[in-house]
Symmetry: C2
Subunit: 236 residues, 2 copies
């Protein structure tokens, strides 16, 4: 079997990281194509797939088809590789949670790019400061509280029970990213979400994840990605 081809920007974690984490956690063979071939190759590959091209990376070529949109890719991977909850109601609940992670990640992006996606952060700093204030005060507690309740809804070490699934690696990444981007705010509030933090810690100890985090395949957080540390956007 050919390894899957993951296409995503080669210099950031970004949205692609949610896919990488599930692939790594499950030990699924894949090639992170643009890390070898560069961002130009990614843009060329996308065009080549017209009229079925993805709207944006990440996308995963699984041989028989190309999947785009993080939640969609992860749902397919979970089903294809035995990670999906067996109970239908639980499965569908985890898919909904994953799409809620997608919504939250879009808001994280907007903390540094609230008014002009195509412009630099430096061109929208006052607007970003205003967005980030509401994000820290209202949106972070709302989403983290929601995910914390999700982490305790069912028995077992992971959201869906005894077996981890993509929502667990995704919530791990949310915590990692928020700690990087908003360290002061996270220090102040993360003890309010003990189940979510405990879940994060258990994901970090999964053998595939632990090995990945120590490898150079894990790109460090940086100020080109989704989770960016701009000290002026952070506060207790």
């Amino acid at each position: 079997v050919e390894p899957y081809k993951l296409w995503y920007w080669p210099s950031i974690q970004g949205r692609g990281e949610f896919v990488r984490l599930t692939l790594e956690g499950a030990g699924i063979p894949y090639v992170d194509c643009a890390r070898d071939q560069g961002a130009d190759a990614l843009m060329q590959d996308m065009k080549r797939r017209a009229p079925f091209e993805p709207f944006a990376p990440p996308y995963l070529d699984v041989g028989t088809m190309v999947l785009a949109q993080v939640g969609h890719i992860l749902t397919w991977l979970a089903d294809a590789h035995g990670l999906a909850p067996k109970d239908e109601a639980t499965l569908f609940w985890t898919i909904q949670l994953q799409l809620t992670v997608t919504d939250f990640v879009a808001e994280v992006h907007d903390t540094h790019h609230p008014v002009a996606t195509m412009d630099y952060y430096d061109d929208q700093k006052p607007e970003a400061a205003r967005y980030a204030t509401g994000f820290r005060a209202q949106r972070m507690p709302k989403f983290l509280g929601y995910f914390d309740r999700a982490a305790t809804a069912l028995d077992g070490d992971f959201v869906a029970g005894a077996q981890w699934s993509p929502i667990d690696t995704s919530l791990f990444q949310v915590i990692e990213g928020l700690r990087y981007a908003f360290p002061k705010r996270m220090s102040a509030i993360e003890s309010d979400y003990p189940a979510l933090i405990a879940l994060h810690d258990r994901v970090a100890e999964l053998p595939g994840i632990a090995a990945y985090l120590k490898s150079d395949r894990r790109i460090p957080f940086n100020e080109d990605g989704i989770f960016r540390h701009y000290p002026e956007l952070d506060a207790v």
Copy 2:
């Protein structure tokens, strides 16, 4: 069989409209609960569903479970009611397109609420003007061009072929909404997307949709929803 229970804000089309359109197009029995019982009942119903409560409306109680997130609800409805493309690659492509509609709708929302979701539009008018400028110039053509190519990718009257599916009613709603919110801009550019406009027109003629649009179940667009007409945000 009990009709499904749809829960969404009773006074706006909003994100719930994408679900209503598929239900109406397919003639699936449902009760739009909060239109009878009010917004307070919606908020109480959501809480009642803890710890599996949706993060936000719309959600659909189908008896055996509760589904939230528009793309997720529509994928389930299509599968359960014979609307889903039979070919797996086509099915998965339409799911990806639907999630891209979700992304676009979030950007439409941000045209009037770019920096503070909890505040009024009146408190963020300069920021909205800046966001809307980039939205009209860059994002509208990018998304509409993408969806126009999608509308021509396969033979047949609809995105997936001869049978309409939720992505068709969703793209119909995108065009309806943009025409309401940005009439000047849409008049200037919509002829660039003939396949998408033709698709919109065919959806409008589906018997279930045509009847719905004439009924009082179709809430008029207004300035509390996602697609809002603020003349100062529109331009050629």
